[in-house]
Symmetry: C2
Subunit: 426 residues, 2 copies
């Protein structure tokens, strides 16, 4: 061991980056955690911000507060732009940062699969500001439709399209259909028969991955009961902001397309000297090192790990957090001069998705049976509440969820960008 | 009475506008409430959003929800642009709105007294987006200062200037000084001796209006104990975004000037056919009618009422709400063909201001003695909690206040505009 403390730079304060920094905080090393945002985002609940159930600061926590008692962990608010492995520095928009070990935990962004018009005119669902833009936009559409005399135009404003039948798309569609129920009480004149919610999925079924056919069927039926029209085997090819066009040539008039159909790694990881896959994810070996480098690791949604698995691992928090543990162990081994690095093995903790209020699906694992309905929803709520980072926030989130469950109302239905009209899509 | 229901258009969903609409909702009339925002803003707590104590949606309520059970009250989300009294229509960015009676309750905006550089480079404190901009900016200054090697530049980033010694300026200065205490725990390396908070007041004393000299002295002493430097008889003349310049020619290096030094009526009221005063407020007679018109009323911060008072009434919620009552009574008298309109008389309910956590001042009225300290703070908290509009919000706000009081932490310290860098002032 060298006499000077090793410096580990982690890019990204998501589930993987924060977990890794917490593990390294206990070691005799220096850590710098880099993120362009000053908060850790609890992404699984982003759809609740986009549908006015929760406030922004209930799913976003100041990163520094996690490391209040860890003077060896520094936070650096900056946009990472690339790495120079030869000089061992991370490049950011606020200067260079030298490292002994670099861990890329930078996460994913929306994948529009190269469709420029769709990217320009639809809403992504990966960032906090995207979630508030969706909320502002949906609420604004109701206000404008309420005063619109042209029926076709009104229906266009009141048609809400969610693309992507994964958990995010399903949770968003369920939450929007319930938001509409709340809006019904507040609009005296609007004809709610003109309102429709559409879930579009390119493949023949919803919920890929660990869900059984029974759970998929249950999900589709539950969505339909809530008034969501589910369109399977329907691919989007174009969207000009007024009409979304499908692969078969048909179109749908809508001012709202929410894109939850795919993710890709953030572009920055391609600038770090490693090889990337089609989804822009950096390819790592079974020790989680970037191929060809010993001191650069990658974990979570931005890493492509495919050893002993049929396909790349799912882009979910448990993968990132388990990889954080392995990355920690291997970095400490390297620091201590050991060469027997650990191989990463993913332990599947199962999968779940809510379908609006009081309904959910939970996939079968070794620990639990398959669940649907209210019981699954309680399990979902419990897991998410205990995982939420701030103890106080747990409390207000729990209150809001029960309030929402009992009264069916949503308090956060405010349009916050109306004072800056250029940001309102009309 | 005519057979058709009269249509009353109210511009502005502040304290006055909402109160008036609630009163008119019980009458046999049609009401349209116009506001460019879809929410009513609880302005007295704006400073708490700007300093990360409360979330946006805890002080902003969907306007429509107030009138859920009143089908005769319509909400129209639009920016009022003027009125044409000859044709009896209100002009908005979403078309014209005919009225039988028009009530201007459009409120006030920040008055920079014609100083263009100050207007361009400092932060107003009148809207929700201004409050979140202040929060984002203050937190961002800490992040940048933490990584800045240049001491002069660092001190500039860590110098926070609040202009205006009224309740808003005092509450903001107190809240910022406490936010700094929270930041202290989260920054391991920053030298907090470089941080300073300055309250600038052009006149020789703080808290004009109903506060006694004793309360003013107490306020200044309390602020100083909290580390706020109070500068009296100090007028601002220029601010280029880097150095604020005072009347005596001296300057102060700062990246943050928060302007709470004056208000003026929103410009729109000058386009409604009446005469306006120096502060842009429309002049009303003692019946609250706009001078020279019988069917146009003005109430609250946008109205100039000066009958039997030494100077224009203060720009506070109780004035607007009491005027709403008189406007309601007089409009109903006109509808019923009565000519004996009521004269407005203001009943002073007193004045209060908080000075950070657990300290406040309450002015003497007929109902209560003068109060300072913890007791005054409890009174302030009680009054504000019962006035908050949503019952559920009361509950989470109460939790947050007690949490803040007991632990001294602030959970909402997130920079929400970092994903759109052009909006971050660097």
């Amino acid at each position: 061991m060298s006499g000077e403390k090793k410096h580990i730079v982690i890019v990204g304060a998501g589930f993987g980056g924060v977990k890794l920094a917490k593990l390294l905080a206990k070691e005799d090393v220096e850590v710098t955690l880099v993120d362009r945002r000053n908060f850790h985002l609890f992404q699984p609940l982003l759809y609740q911000v986009s549908t006015a159930i929760l406030s922004e600061d209930e799913i976003a926590y100041p990163i520094r507060t996690f490391f209040r008692k860890n003077p060896n962990v520094e936070f650096y608010m900056a946009q990472a732009q690339g790495a120079d492995p030869a000089r061992k520095v991370l490049l950011t928009n606020h200067g260079e940062l030298p490292y002994d070990y670099l861990v890329l935990a930078a996460g994913a962004t929306t994948n529009f699969f190269g469709m420029k018009t769709v990217e320009k005119n639809s809403f992504g669902m990966k960032t906090l500001s995207e979630a508030t833009h969706i909320r502002n936009h949906i609420l604004h559409m109701f206000e404008r439709a309420d005063k619109c005399e042209d029926e076709a135009e009104r229906r266009r404003m009141l048609t809400f399209v969610i693309v992507g039948g994964g958990p995010t798309g399903i949770e968003e569609a369920g939450a929007i259909s319930e938001l509409i129920e709340v809006q019904k009480r507040d609009f005296h004149r609007l004809d709610f028969n003109e309102v429709s919610v559409h879930l579009i999925e390119a493949t023949p079924n919803v919920l890929p991955g660990g869900f059984s056919d029974h759970l998929r069927q249950y999900t589709i039926e539950t969505l339909r009961k809530k008034g969501v029209e589910v369109h399977l085997s329907t691919g989007v090819v174009d969207y000009d902001g007024r009409d979304v066009k499908f692969k078969d040539g048909s179109t749908m008039a809508t001012k709202t397309v929410i894109w939850a159909a795919g993710v890709k790694a953030v572009p920055f990881v391609a600038e770090c000297g490693g090889e990337v896959d089609r989804g822009g994810r950096i390819i790592v070996n079974e020790k989680l090192q970037v191929e060809g480098q010993t001191d650069v690791f990658a974990i979570g949604d931005c890493a492509h790990y495919q050893h002993g698995t049929e396909r790349p691992l799912p882009t979910v928090a448990p993968v990132a957090m388990q990889q954080a543990q392995t990355a920690h162990d291997n970095i400490m081994k390297l620091i201590h001069g050991q060469t027997d690095l650990d191989t990463f093995h993913y332990k599947d903790l199962g999968c779940m998705a809510t379908i609006g209020r009081a309904k959910a699906v939970v996939g079968k694992t070794k620990m639990n049976p398959e669940m649907t309905g209210f019981l699954a929803w309680c399990a979902w709520m419990f897991i998410h509440l205990i995982r939420l980072a701030g103890t106080h926030t747990n409390f207000t989130v729990a209150i809001k969820w029960w309030w929402n469950f009992l009264s069916g109302t949503r308090l956060g239905r405010i349009i916050t960008n109306c004072e800056e009209p250029e940001t309102v899509k009309e």
